[in-house]
Symmetry: C2
Subunit: 330 residues, 2 copies
C-alpha cells in the first residue's frame, strides 16, 4: 500500500510537502499540490488514520459503550448523542461490552483509542472505569455511578417514577400489587423497587408487598416469572414490572392463560420503549427522557474535554404515560 513516502518520490517533493498538500494547507502552491494529488490518485493512496492519530495524539472520536450491540438500546438516546457529537466534528463509535474484561468495550476504555466514552452497560467493573477516566478521557455513565473526578453520571429518577406508578395503581383502587423484577445488584432497579415499597407504605399497605426477584430483565424472564405467578394462584389485581421488556413478556403470559389485561389484572411497565404503545393492550408505563439524556451526555463530554467543570451527577425526571393496561377498579 502506498504511503506519503511513495507519493513524495513520485511527485519529486518531500514528505512534508505531501502531508501539507493532502491536508489542504494553504502554503503549498497550486502547481505542486496538483502534482501531489495526481500522484496520490495514481497510486490509489489511502491515508493511514492510525498513524495520523498517533502523531496527533487525539482521535476526535467518542465511544458509545452498550451491553450488547444487538440489544434494544434506545434509538432516541443514540440520536441525541449522535447529533451533538457530529455537530462538534467528532466521530461516534458504538461497541459492545459482551465478553467482559476482554470485550471491545474494555479495549476502547483502556487503550486510548478514543477521546471519551458514554457507557450504558453494567458489566464493566467500576475499577476499570475509574482507572480509565482522566482529564483527557472523560466518561459519562448512564444509569450508574462511580466516584471519580472525571466521571459524571446521568441517572433518571427511578425511585420517584416507580412511586408514581404504584400510586397510580393505588388511586385506581388496587390493593394487591405485585412487583416483578430481575435479580439485581444495580442501584437502578433497587431504586425502582424502593419507589414501589414507599408508595405501599405511604398508603398503609406495607404488609402487602409482593416482590418477586429472579433472573434477567428481559422479555423471556418476564414471561416465565409471570407464569410462575399465575401457577401460584392468588393473582394480584395489578403487577408492576421492572421494565417494559419484562412487562411485555408478562402480558404474553397472561394472554396464554386467558387472563385479560387489564380486565383481570392491571399491568404497568417502566422505560416507555417503542414497543410499549404497540402491544395489546397498549402499555401504561413510566417514561424517561431519552433524546435529552443522549444529548446531555454528549454535551457534557465536550464540556469536560474543553476543561470546563460540570456537576458530577445529574438526575432527570420521569413521567407517567397512561395507556390501556391499567383498570380503575374503584
Amino acid at each position: 500500500m502506498a504511503t506519503i513516502k511513495d507519493i513524495a518520490r513520485m511527485a519529486g517533493v518531500s514528505i512534508s510537502t505531501v502531508s501539507y498538500a493532502l491536508n489542504n494547507d494553504t502554503k503549498i502552491s497550486k502547481k505542486t499540490k496538483e502534482k501531489i494529488l495526481d500522484a496520490a490518485r495514481q497510486l490509489n493512496y489511502q491515508k493511514n488514520g492510525i498513524a495520523s492519530d498517533l502523531k496527533r495524539s487525539s482521535t476526535r472520536t467518542i465511544a458509545l459503550i452498550v451491553t450488547d450491540l444487538a440489544g434494544p438500546y434506545y434509538a432516541e438516546l443514540v440520536k441525541g448523542i449522535q447529533e451533538v457529537t457530529l455537530s462538534k466534528g467528532y466521530d461516534l463509535l458504538a461497541c459492545s461490552s459482551v465478553g467482559g474484561e476482554t470485550s471491545t468495550a474494555v479495549k476502547f476504555l483502556t487503550e486510548k483509542r478514543v477521546d471519551g466514552a458514554i457507557v450504558l452497560a453494567h458489566n464493566i467493573s467500576e475499577e476499570i472505569l475509574i482507572k480509565s477516566a482522566r482529564k483527557k478521557f472523560p466518561i459519562i455513565l448512564l444509569d450508574r455511578k462511580a466516584d471519580s473526578e472525571h466521571i459524571v453520571s446521568i441517572e433518571v429518577d427511578n425511585e420517584a417514577g416507580s412511586y408514581l406508578g404504584a400510586e397510580l395503581l393505588i388511586t385506581q383502587g388496587h390493593r394487591d400489587i405485585a412487583y416483578i423484577s430481575g435479580m439485581t445488584v444495580s442501584e437502578l432497579h433497587y431504586m425502582r423497587i424502593h419507589g414501589y415499597e414507599r408508595a405501599l407504605q405511604k398508603h398503609g399497605l406495607e404488609g402487602r408487598n409482593r416482590l418477586h426477584q429472579f433472573g434477567l430483565f428481559n422479555r423471556e424472564n418476564g414471561f416465565s416469572m409471570t407464569k410462575m405467578l399465575i401457577a401460584q394462584g392468588n393473582l394480584p389485581s395489578a403487577v408492576m414490572y421492572a421494565n417494559d421488556e419484562m412487562a411485555i413478556g408478562g402480558i404474553n403470559a397472561f394472554k396464554e392463560h386467558g387472563i385479560k389485561v387489564p380486565a383481570d389484572v392491571s399491568v404497568i411497565g417502566f422505560d416507555d420503549i417503542e414497543l410499549a404503545k404497540y402491544v395489546q393492550p397498549a402499555l401504561t408505563t413510566i417514561m424517561q427522557p431519552k433524546y435529552e439524556r443522549g444529548a446531555l451526555a454528549a454535551h457534557l463530554i465536550f464540556e469536560m474535554l474543553e476543561g470546563h467543570s460540570t456537576e458530577p451527577y445529574y438526575k432527570l425526571p420521569t413521567q407517567l404515560v397512561l395507556r390501556d393496561s391499567v383498570l380503575n377498579i374503584n
Copy 2:
C-alpha cells in the same frame, strides 16, 4: 501519561523487556516481570492501542457500517455478526454513515482503521467502496452490489419475496392492489416493485398496477402517502408496502380515517421487523433471514481475510409470514 519508556526507567530495564512483559511473553523471568507490572501499576500505565496497531499494522477489528446508528437495524442481524466476530477474537465496531462523504463510516472505510467492513448503508458511493476494498480489506455489502474482486454481496431474493406477497393477495381474491414505496435508485426496491408487477402480469392484471413512489422509506412517509391514497378516493382492496416501517405508518393512517384493516383494506409489508407481530392487526409480511445473514457476512469476511476464495454474490431466500392484515375476499 505514562508510557513503556517510563516503566522501563522506573523498573530499571529496557523498553523491549517491558513490552515483552506486558504482552505476557514467556521469555521474561518472573522476577523482572513482577517488577515491571509493579511499576506499571504505580504509574497507572495505560497502553496506547493506536501505537500498537500502527506497529502491528493490523487492528483485528471489523466495522459494521449502518446508515444511522439510531435506526432500527435488525438486532438479529447484528447478533449474527457479533457472534462470529467475537469467536474469531476480533472486535466489532458500529458506526454510522450520516454525514455522507465526511461521515465516520467513510473515515473507517478509507483510513485503514479496521481490517474489514460490513456495510448496510446506501448513502456511501460505490466509488468509495471499490476504492477502499483490497485483499487486506474485504467488504461485505448487504442489500446492494459493487463490482470488485474484494467485495462480496449478500442480498435477499426481493423479487421473489414480493412476487410471493402479491400472489398471496391475488389468490385471496384481490384484484386492485396498490404498491406504496419510497423514491429509490436502489436495486433492492426496484426488485421488490418488479416482483409485484410480475405477479400482476402473471395473473392477467397488467393494466391494474398502481405504483406510488415518493419520499423516504420510513413510517412517517408510509403514513402520509397512505393519507394521500385515501384522499384520492377509489381505495384499492389491498396495498403492499416497500417495507414494514412504511406499512405500519400506513396502518396508522387507515386507523385515523376509520378504515379497517383488513376488513376494508388488506395490508402487506416486507422485512418482518420485530414490531410487525405487535401492531394491530399483526402484519402479514415477507421475512428475510436476519441472523443467518449476519453470521454469513462475518464468516465471509474472515474467509477473505484468510485468503480463501468465495462466491462474489449470495442470494438468500425469503418467506411469507401470514398474520392478520390480509383478508380473503373470495
